[in-house]
Every structure is written in C-alpha cells, then in structure tokens.
Amino acid sequence: MAEIIMPKMGDAMTEGKVVRWYKKPGEAVKKGEPVLEIETDKVNLDLEAEQDGTIAEVAAQEGQVIPVGGRLAMISAPGEKPAGVGPRPSAATAAEGGGATQKIAAEGGGATQGGGAAQQRRVTDKKDSIKHTTGEYAEAIEMKAPRIDRTAPVSAPLRVVEGGRRRSSPLARKMAREMGVSLDAIEGSGPSGRIIAKDVKAVEGSRPRLPGQPGAPVLHEQQIPLSAMRRTIAKRLAESTGPIPHFYLTADYDVTNLMSLRQQMNEIVKISVNDFVIKAAALALRHHPNVNASWGDEAITQHGEIHIGVAVSTPEGLITPVVRNADQKSVADIAAEVRALAEKVKNRKLRPEEYQGSTFTISNLGAWGIEEFTAIINPPNVAILAIGTAAPQPVVVDRQIVVRDRMKVTMSCDHRVVDGAAGAEYLRTLRQYLEQPVRLIL
C-alpha cells in the first residue's frame, strides 16, 4: 500500500488545495500516471502514482485544503487487498512539526518483501525513518544470511523518492566549492543518490567548456569574507534604508544595431528585445562576478553560475521564472525557453525549481511603453535591471541630429555588496554587449 501525500513544494508552503481527481477509488493506475491535480500558492501540478496499483482510498475532496504531509490517497499494489486502510498517520504532526516531510521507499525489496511492490512509508524526519526500519532490516538480514551484521547502518537502503534535498558528502561539497562546480549538475552515485567525492572528480574531468565568448572570463563560486569596512558599510546603509539598501543607476543605450539585428533574426525565429537583454546581462555578469552575488551575514557569495530571473506578471502578481546558465545559451534558445516558461506561468504549471535559484533578475516594462523605472531587488540577488521601452529618439551624432533607437536601463543595487562604481562598471560592460549586439551571437 502506497500513500500519496500533500508534497512540500517550497519552504513557505504549509498546505495545498485539491483541484481535481483524475482517478476514482477502485480505478487502476500505472506508475507515473497522474492521479490528481493540486494547487499551491504558486503553481498547479499533477501528482503521479509511484507504483502500479489500484486507488484504494481517496482521502480528500476536490476543493479541500490539506496540510503538507497530509494523506491524499492510498494506492494498493496489484493483488493486494484494497481494504484495511489504517488511520491517518501523523499528518498533523508532520505539518506542525515543520520538519521536512519525506517519502522513503525500501530498496532491495527482495529481502524484505515477498516480491510485492515497494513498501512506502512516510516519515517526519530521518531519525524516524531509521527507527521504523531497524527492526525490519535486522530481521530481513537474519532470514537471508546466517551471519548477522547488525553494525551495518540502516540508512543505506533508504532512498529519497521526493521532497528531499540533494544529498552530498561533506568532502564532495568542499571539493565542488573549491572547483567552482555546482552540485546541481552532478549525479550522485552513493547511497540515496548521495554525491560523493568520486562524482565531483568525474565532473571536473569532463567539464563542458563554455561556448567561446571572446574575452569572457570563467567564473568560480567563491566566498569573500566580510571585512570590517564592508560590515560597517552594510550596517550603516541598512540602518538608513531598510534591510536592503538600494541605490539606482540609469544608463541610456543606443540599441539601433540591436533592433536591426533583431529584425533580421525575426525572419528566422521570433526573438524579443528582452531575450537579447537577458543574454547581454548574463554575459556582462561574467565580467562582474561581484554583481552575480548574494549577501550573507558572514560572507558575500559570488555564484559560480549565472541564472537570470525574468519577471513575468500574472493577474495574481509577479513571478520570476529562471533561465539557467543564460550566459551559455544562444539568444534563440533563451527566447524559446522564456516563451515556454511564460506559458507555464500563464497555466500556473511552473514548478518550484523553475522559479527558484536566480542569481540576477531582469524586469522589462518596455512593452507597456514605460520609458524608465526602478525595480526592487529580488533577494537573495544583489541587483536587478529595469528595462524601459526601446524607441527612436533624436540624438546628436557628429554635430548632426539623427534618429537612433534608445533604451533606458536602470540598475537597482544592494549597496551592501555592490558599490556605485561597481554598478557603473557593470552597466558599461552591458553597453558593449547591447550596442555591439554581434557580441551576443558570436
């Protein structure tokens, strides 16, 4: 018997709503088939069956709000009696306890179960999971082998099915930190998918070379410990203007070439001005890792990768889907990705991993005809670009008044991390990319 529970889709999520059931009690389901749709504060998503079987119980009605960890349905394995559903275990405890709710499944089932479907169990934390399984495993080993090794840790045969964080050994984390490699990109070969030193080393060996971008340096994640001066700057500025001391820099770019390039490219593939801006902003960040950063009480983290959040408005409010490694993607790829993400936002199908983890954000109100504006920083980013409309303007070139396309960009900076000159330098680099857009497609 397997349980489907209300998953925790983000740190802030405490409950979710059942939107509709795709399956009725008694109906057969296949592993991977959607059973129901739920709605969270951010998205709607389908919950899938984790094993073949029959819906034994539907524990929530459409429209009902269920706490995280609460039971939604029970699936009985083929051949298993659908009856005998026990009392709901600790759903309330899971939600109240605030611990990460995980579903674990016993692996190596041959020893523990008589060849049936994987037994699943929901636990409120790791300690519980060990407590639950100690007895079973001890017995299983006893049956299988005459020699009992009770010293073997019982955590090894447990596998995270969903809702868990990525596991990694301390050494793997240290190595990844030192090599500037993101653990997100690494497949763990240890128990429970734990990323171990060997996996990090393998990635180092086969690390994809960044696409050739003339003059763009390679980034490494690094921690810059806070100096006394930096602490004082941070404290004083924060006192004066709230938790994030913003300041604003506006630049006026000549985007005539960009507009003409876009026109040419649009004959092949549809690309918006904003897609160019995403690419340009990401490439410029490569030269200014101090802007691709996050503030921490002990250190400033400069990220090893560039993930651009793109503000997308919805009737309910604003959400920022993330274009990962935007510096390494072509403008056309970025365009396609942004379109797909925007579509998901519209249908409320955006998944948490698609709107979390940005290192920099862009907000563009050009389509609304806004000439310039200031945006509020999206923590833990330390800067955001507010993009105005690109429009023809009379400008003086060689003492002649000519018409050029101009676009105003305002950068909001977190002064604890980015000082005025640093922000200005970033905007100067951005100018090179936006005013010589051929650099964006090299």
């Binding site: 020699r147 009992i148 090794d149 009770r150 010293t151 073997a152 840790p153 955590s155 090894a156 050994s169 301390p170 050494l171 793997a172 984390r173 240290k174 070969s189 240890g190 128990p191 171990i196 030193a197 060997k198």
Partner: protein, 328 residues
C-alpha cells in the same frame, strides 16, 4: 628488544616497578599462593613476601577502598581484579573516591592507585565475565583509562601508571594474554598516556581502534591489502582517557573515510564518542558517514560458536571498510 607475551609484559612491568620503588605493592584475590587466575603474578609472593603481595578476601569494595586509602597516604597500590567485571562491587570506591579525592582536597591529595585486570570476550567466560569497561570508566573525569593492544604497550603503559599521580583503570584484554610481541628491554621504557599511534600506514580508509579490536583491525587491513588492494591506515588509541584523536583526524583528512571498531555493545560505546569527535573536527573531509563496528547487542553467550558470532571479527571490519568506500 625481546619477544614476550602480553601476560609476561604486564608481570615484568610490575616486577620492575616493585624493584625500583618500595611503595609499590599489589593486592587481589588468589594472587599470592595461587599465583593469579591468569598467572600474571606468578612468583611474586615468593619474591616480595606477603606485605607487598597481599591475598585478599573476596571483597572488591574493601580492596579498592583500602587501596585508595593507601594511595592517599603515599603508597602505590595495584589492585588486581580477577576480572574487571568484579569491580562493579567497588564502583563507589573507584568513581566517587579514587576519581574525586584530588578534586575534593583542592589538589592536595593524589590517589596513585592502579586498578588492573582482564576484560572482554573470547575466553568463554559468559555474560557476567566477558564485558568491556572503557566507555564506562572513560566517562568519568578524574580517571585515566588504558587499553593496550600489544605486549610493548601493556608494559610501557603499566609502568607509566605506576610512576604517575593519577588513579588508573588498566584494562587488559583476557584474549590477548598469550599474544607475543617485541618489547623493549630498557627498564625505564614507558609509554605515555594520551598518545595514539599509527599502527599501520595506508591512504584509503582510516580504522580507529584499541585493545583486542586493534589486532582484529590489523588482520582485516592486511586482508584488504592482499585481496582488494585497499590500504587501511590503522590508529591505535592506547588510552581512552586521555583520548588522543589528533592522529585519527590527520588520517581522516587524508583518507576521507573512517571506521571505528570496538569490541562490545554499540549503544553509548567508545566508538560513538570517537565517531562524533571525528565528525565534529574533520567534517568537511568526510566522504562517507563514519561507520562503527561493534559487538552484538546481547549479553555475551557462553557457547563458543555464539560467542564468536557476538564479537566483531575481521569480516565485519572489511564490510564496513567497503561500505565507506562505496564498494558494497
């Protein structure tokens, strides 16, 4: 250097120190006329007479209490427990007096008593007489706890105990009494407390152990080397209090994997203390959780086959080594 058994090394240490220092004496059950249940005190009554080799009634609390008093007044008594299991009866004298008199006297009075005797499984003495006590005594400040793994360390550590100022719990492995090894001939040879040693060099996995399990770990390490090409570095702690884990930290920083081996029950055992300290001190160097190898969580069976099953053996150490290397 000459080859000696663990038993003879202990006996020699006592004899050398009794020759050197007239305040050293020994008392215990059946140690004089009968020459000791494990023959550790063979010939000593004849050599030193009944004033320095004292046969006692079966009264461990009395022996320990008498020794504490003697030590407070300037003698250096050795109490031989026929097995350390019998010392439970004397626990109050040891834990509340020997361990605390210096503290209560504001540092004025030392209690240089040595309480020594065999412990551990492997000689079919059943549940009441096969226990190990390092985690029990290691818990209490005021005591020194030694658990030698070789004849040389048995001699060197016992001589340090008989020359020091502290109450020492000297835990001999009953199963090692017959083990032979090279022992320095120098009559001033001592091994200091709180100095672990690297018993075997290796780069792949660190095994931390002491007493008899050190020998099991070394055997496992040799097999791993031969059969799998895996080189284990084996650390011998020698004393559990003071506990010197610096060589273990250095080793784990190199190997990134650690297995701790103890003879008896896993819950609240010495291996738990050691594993936790390693995690606290070299967390970022670990590529796998620290593994503990320990005895079965049952009273020690008498039957030979069951006793073997209940005690850690090299196979378990090898399995743990493979697990921390993600090879199983």
């Amino acid at each position: 250097m000459s080859e000696k058994s663990y038993r003879d090394a202990i006996r020699e240490a006592m004899i050398e120190e009794m020759d050197r220092d007239a305040t050293v004496l020994i008392m215990g059950e059946d140690i004089g006329v009968y020459e000791g249940t494990f023959r550790i005190t063979a010939g000593m009554l004849k050599k030193y007479g009944p004033k320095r080799v004292i046969d006692t009634p079966i009264a461990e609390a009395g022996m320990a209490g008498t020794a504490v008093g003697m030590a407070m007044l300037g003698l250096r008594p050795i109490v031989e427990m026929m097995t350390m299991n019998f010392a439970f009866v004397a626990a109050d004298q040891i834990l509340n007096h020997a361990a605390k008199v210096r503290y209560f006297s504001g540092g004025q009075v030392d209690v240089p008593v040595v309480i020594r005797g065999p412990q551990g499984a492997g000689v079919q003495l059943s549940a009441q007489h096969s226990q190990t006590f390092e985690s029990f005594y290691g818990h209490f400040p005021g005591l020194t706890v030694a658990a030698p793994a070789t004849p040389a360390d048995a001699k060197g550590l016992l001589k340090s105990a008989l020359r020091g100022r502290d109450p020492v719990i000297f835990l001999e492995s009953a199963a090692l009494y017959g083990m032979k090894g090279e022992v320095p001939d120098d009559s001033d040879f001592t091994v200091p407390f709180g100095e672990s040693r690297v018993a075997r060099d290796g780069n792949d996995v660190t095994i931390v152990s002491y007493s008899r399990m050190l020998q099991v770990s070394l055997t496992a390490a040799e097999r791993m080397s031969k059969e799998e090409g895996i080189e284990c570095e084996v650390i011998d702690l020698r004393t559990l209090r003071p506990l010197d884990l610096v060589p273990a930290y250095a080793s784990v920083a190199k190997t990134h994997r650690c297995v701790v081996v103890q003879e008896q029950w896993k819950p609240f055992g010495a291996a738990a203390e050691i594993a936790a300290s390693i995690t606290e001190n070299v967390f970022d160097d670990l590529d796998a959780p620290v593994e503990r190898v320990a005895g079965e969580d049952v009273p020690m069976p008498y039957a030979r086959n069951l006793e073997l099953l209940a005690t850690p053996h090299e196979e378990q150490v090898i399995n743990a080594v493979k697990r921390v290397m993600y090879k199983s």
